[in-house]
């Protein structure tokens, strides 16, 4: 492991530890739950940042895996009455869904535009399906799918092996913080290794990578499935801070997700996380101002980001910092 990578991982762990120790003590309950939602969305942004920024796969429907993770968690937790089983199931379902969808897309060698169109379509199909599950007949075991209302009775995470000991909002916040840190560290390690370097090479030039003997389909499928798993984890965290509902699959979230990554900066892992926090903070604030329309603010922010910082916030800051030091940064 290089010194730079070790340092980045150490900083990530330190920040996670600091946030876990300090924020539950200083934030009010509502703010803490809101912060957990922000973190869940940051994990979701990280999943898109990984597959789009490094794998070159623009998924317009990353929320499909986010929603599947959330719904799988809620359904499994209600049926097993223990999150010990619900969490692995909720990770497995979106991973398998991403692997299945990715198999047809990448082994079918469809172009990038169709990948965007298909992923968007899948998330919208799931959105419509989830909305149409209102009747009593729509239940999986003990869990009613709830149609438009979703599953308000989504159980909270519990202490492993002790279903009665559900975690407090403070504890769920801490779990979310470390889940984000873990995803970031795993993605960092993955990208520093052979698999990650080949994925980036395929993003740069798929033909050249294949002419050197790499089966690009396998690598794209691998990173897309991993992105599905991380989005599923985001869905679990979201389900624990709010509850699952069809909006998790919605265009509203999938559109915002792309904006978070674009504002934060593609080709970085930290950028999408920062983008998610920053844009959510701004739109949440705009929502409290009666004279402001949060969607208009979001649109203006996107336009400003695209025109003023086409590479995104973090790469622009890095470039500016590099120039200040007289160093040309990659």
């Amino acid at each position: 492991m290089s010194r730079k990578l070790f340092l980045e991982i150490a900083i990530a762990l330190f920040l996670a530890l600091a946030a876990a120790l300090v924020l539950p003590r200083v934030l009010a309950l509502f703010a803490l739950i809101n912060a957990t939602v922000f973190i869940a969305m940051a994990v979701l942004a990280l999943s898109l940042g990984l597959i789009w920024g490094f794998g070159g796969i623009l998924s317009f429907g990353q929320t499909a895996f986010f929603g599947l993770g959330g719904y799988a968690y809620a359904v499994a937790a209600i049926n097993f009455n223990d999150s010990l089983y619900a969490v692995p199931i909720a990770l497995l379902v979106p991973t398998l869904a991403a692997a299945g969808l990715g198999y047809f897309m990448f082994y079918g060698r469809i172009s990038d535009v169709y990948v965007g169109a298909i992923t968007l379509t899948v998330s919208l199909i799931l959105f419509n399906f989830a909305n149409s599950t209102a009747g009593e007949e729509w239940r999986i075991g003990e869990a009613p799918l709830g149609g438009f209302n979703g599953i308000p009775s989504t159980p909270q995470l519990n202490v492993p092996g002790n279903p009665d000991a559900t975690l407090s909002p403070q504890a769920i916040f801490i779990v979310a913080v470390f889940a984000l840190a873990l995803c970031y560290i795993l993605a960092k390690l993955l990208l520093a290794g052979r698999f990650g370097r080949v994925v980036v090479a395929i993003r740069e030039n798929e033909t050249r990578a294949e002419l050197l003997g790499y089966d690009a389909r396998r690598y794209k499928l691998g990173i897309f499935s991993l992105g599905g798993a991380i989005a599923g984890l985001a869905g679990i965290l979201f389900a624990n801070s709010v509850f699952v509902s069809p909006t998790m699959f919605s265009l509203f979230y999938s559109g915002q997700l792309i904006i978070w990554v674009m504002v934060g900066g593609r080709g970085t892992l930290l950028g999408p996380i920062l983008g998610a926090f920053l844009v959510q903070a701004i739109t949440t604030w705009a929502g409290t101002e009666p004279r402001l329309n949060p969607n208009a603010i979001l649109g203006i922010l996107l336009m400003l980001a695209v025109m003023g910082m086409p590479r995104g916030l973090l790469p622009t800051l890095r470039l500016a910092w590099g120039r200040r030091r007289g160093v040309q940064l990659a």
């Binding site: 740069e204 050249r208 003997g213 790499y214």
Partner: protein
């Protein structure tokens, strides 16, 4: 002499246009073959058929006695065919070292790949540019980076599509020397427009014209052939 590569009746049609029209072509192990022809003769398309970038509409291609017709390009590369394309095909966002490392990582562990990459960079005079992003390099340097990447996995057969395009006279001279040196261990097919360059490196030359083999012989004989001179002057000549 055993044939390393053998193409029989290879054709590549795009709609009604026959870019390659029934090419019979063989290369023996250890050979250095020149492949020439005017623009539009089908040289690059033929290379794309050999490397799996295009699936031929007709014909068969054998490499080491195995039928590779229509195989995936990565599978053909793994069998030992490397190609330097006409327009350098590179990883613009990666550094020169990372690019060469990618070429080696498929079959070498990290430490050995790093050691071999350093040796290759030194061999190509690229060690001073090792940490430079490939997208920032000049055209001639990009050609060298692609050559380094292609040669790194030690393919049995190397296809070079206009390796000296855009190079200075000095770089062209170095490339000719490198190709001769490579021929000690590899079989090569070189597409080139520069006849002096072809004369300097190749013993046997195949001329493509309108997607078919016009003539194949020793370089001096081919270049003196009136049919070859005519096609390069744009006169109408019927392929064999």
């Amino acid at each position: 002499m055993s044939m390393l590569l053998s193409a029989r009746g290879v054709a590549m049609h795009f709609g009604g246009v026959a870019a390659v029209d029934g090419v019979d072509f063989s290369v023996a192990e250890g050979e250095l073959r020149g492949l020439i022809g005017p623009n539009g003769a089908g040289k690059s398309t033929f290379f794309k058929c050999l490397t799996g970038q295009l699936r031929p509409t007709a014909g068969t291609i054998f490499f080491r006695d195995r039928n590779i017709t229509g195989m995936q390009r990565f599978a053909i590369a793994r069998m030992g065919i490397g190609i330097k394309t006409q327009v350098p095909s590179l990883f613009d966002g990666l550094t020169v070292r990372e690019s060469v490392m990618i070429a080696l990582r498929r079959f070498l562990a990290e430490r050995e790949a790093r050691r071999r990459a350093q040796a290759i960079l030194e061999r190509f005079g690229l060690d001073g540019l090792a940490e430079t992003e490939v997208g920032r390099l000049a055209h001639g340097q990009r050609q060298w980076v692609e050559l380094a990447m292609v040669i790194a996995p030690e393919p049995a057969l190397i296809l070079l599509d206009e390796p000296t395009a855009g190079m200075s006279a000095e770089e062209t001279r170095r490339t000719a020397a490198l190709i001769r040196e490579l021929n000690a261990r590899h079989t090569l097919i070189v597409v080139e427009h520069d006849m002096a360059f072809i004369r300097a490196i190749a013993h046997t030359v195949t001329v493509l014209h309108q997607g078919r083999v016009l003539v194949e012989d020793e370089v001096a004989k081919v270049l003196a052939d009136p049919r070859v001179q005519n096609v390069y002057l744009g006169r109408q000549v019927q392929p064999a």
